[in-house]
Symmetry: D2
Subunit: 232 residues, 4 copies
């Protein structure tokens, strides 16, 4: 089962806030004028212009908080390498684990021999974990035997600028499959509440129609629908 993503909170009306912040930079308007909101049509046009011309900083004002269940620690270790973000992750030091919970990669799930081997060992590892606890080892040390695929859960917050960067890197077909799935689910949520800000997102094959990777995947996304659809 893939991870589950919940948009727990976000800056209200993100598209309008970003547009308002951008207008402060380039006009004589006072902040008090921003409180009278201009038409959605003008905001959308401004946001598109900012994205195209690389003026990304106004997008930082809109913030999105996600809850994630069922992510492997393989993926969470990659995720937290994004430093312009905030994380609260379930502690394996303080929280004892009560059941075998491990993420199965699709390549293993679809290979019956590999799957049997993987599941047998994952169950065995959990038994070793509980045996170590029974021998007086603390949870924080017993977990050294748990597989990398073990599930974790976390709350993360990123602003829209960093989210764009995250989607650019992690929605590429060459990204690891699990963090790619996480990114896809996050993008779907973002597009519901900030449709203009996330109108276009993802790797350069979507946004710019070209690839920067030294070894391309050879299967560029044609458009946003392609990217959003779970086709694998």
């Amino acid at each position: 089962m893939p991870c589950r993503v919940y948009l727990l909170a976000h800056t209200p009306d993100p598209d309008s806030l970003v547009a308002a912040a951008a207008r402060i930079c380039y006009s004589a308007a006072a902040v008090s004028d921003l409180l009278e909101r201009e038409s959605d049509h003008l905001s959308a046009s401004l946001l598109r212009k900012l994205r195209r011309s690389g003026h990304h900083s106004p997008f930082e004002h809109a913030s999105f908080t996600f809850g994630v269940d069922g992510l492997s620690r393989v993926a969470s270790h990659q995720l937290v390498r994004h430093r312009l973000a905030s994380y609260s992750q379930q502690s394996q030091r303080y929280v004892e684990i009560n059941e075998a919970q491990v993420v199965v990669p699709p390549s293993i799930a679809s290979n019956s021999e590999a799957l049997a081997l993987f599941q047998r060992w994952a169950a065995a590892a959990f038994e070793v974990y509980t045996s170590l606890l029974a021998l007086g080892v603390e949870a924080e040390d017993a977990r050294f035997i748990l597989p990398h695929g073990w599930e974790t859960r976390l709350v993360l917050t990123m602003n829209a600028r960093e989210l764009h960067h995250f989607f650019e890197l992690r929605l590429c077909r060459r990204a690891q499959w699990e963090i790619r799935e996480l990114a896809r689910l996050m993008l779907i949520e973002c597009r519901k509440v900030a449709p203009v800000t996330f109108e276009i997102a993802g790797p350069p094959c979507v946004g710019e129609g070209r690839c920067h990777e030294s070894r391309s995947c050879g299967k560029p996304y044609g458009n946003m629908e392609d990217l959003i659809r779970n086709d694998e």
Copy 2:
């Protein structure tokens, strides 16, 4: 006239979100459980415990966006030194200035001779600026003659953890008066929407009852009411 501060946007229900994120770290609860919100009473108790014990990271999930009018560039230069924040500031390169707008420090406003001198020269500086424009100098270069006290406006976003750090430094009586006034107005807004998160804030004389400065001001704040009141 001091600066004007508007809370343009914020994460909805910040106190609850921070408490929910903290619970993920230390309990076996799934993220989906967080969606059923627990009682405000329990959240408040958890937030106070986090603050006391120095576990600040859950406060990062709550984000606050302010608009500020009428701040001097003296103060904005100090403000943007806080790097864990996002800024959109009115450009003096692209926006031509149409009237003399300068912040008058209280120590000058209360000294009639100094005030007369200051105002005469602030007006004169603006005339030099317009003369330079008339001589064909671009606005981005003519502004080199405008006084530091010139007004700017900006939109800034900080999360609750960084806001606490900002209030700790900038609400100290030894901070520059203008950024202190900005911090005071921001704190007043924060307390309206996140009363538990910002129940206690400000320099160590308020939070810990002691001063870390090598040269103390000698007038510690007795409590939050002291700090919030505009007594100067």
Copy 3:
């Protein structure tokens, strides 16, 4: 075997550089004057004053790069949560693993029954990994079965201000034993090349003689020698 730490590179003469940067803030000296270095005695006195009064920013100019071998992915996942730092970590996606390499926690190493169990299963996990590879599973997916205690290696860079923060948190007796050992070995290296900057470092029991933890360990460090000595 605990991790191995190498100081791969550092800003030359860190104590002097930090002192020079601090002098720019508070004196009329030109930068060109900084090139004539003042006496070590005066620098040391200035650095001590900065540390005591909480003016930490000049310490950011001194940067330290470490190589680390033999760290578990349990510890590396914690380590990379420090966001004001730079990391290059060995990829488990691209680098296939050729031998069983797992970190054994001391509490397990000293418990013969637990140790036998742990080692047997660590070896078995590696066999499962190689079997999965043989079944056509990619290394990036097969690793889901490897234990958390698996060894990784990385290069990390932190500046002296962030190092102080890292040492404050991670040298506390309540920190996880492995990241604490990493921090101890890093501090030993730092003190060789920046003796004044790291004259005092570590948790508040060393620097301030008091503890901020809600549940204290009850065994405060008496002094730096206590902290540096490997007594466990």
Copy 4:
């Protein structure tokens, strides 16, 4: 007179360190192996590949510290907006100013009428500043009347990744002239000590042969020599 830039300190042998950090990511080499340095030729080839393919993180391990004299506060206000950097700037609160020191924009220096007006007022502003001090106003408030072009000095540290970002934005002909000159002088220093890392740097017209600006300057740089030469 333009600003003066001094490279005060840097990570020794930056090109080799970056290459070593990159090798850790993609090979089975232990950190201890990195201590035996491989040939410069192989390192150069690796660095070029990293730059081309957008794998920028290894460049963060190399750090550069500059001293800058004679920069206007117009430019320093822009500079400190780069948040992934460290700054120590001369305080106008604590350091009283003893002589008129103002940066004259080239467009004013080359316009005799504008220059006479600018210099007369800059001198007058300094007289007003000293008169305010004489009337009992503190330096921190009297400076509100000093022109934006007033000189400041500072120490700044950036790593090579952030420097590349800085050069990309600030060496564009559409950047403000003074921060562009600062960037040019910094790049010249960087190329002396990290020739491969900074072999190619600057705006996209140099690195990629194309422009991302919505309004191009129309005068793309042909190559690095063009960019480095002071032709204006």
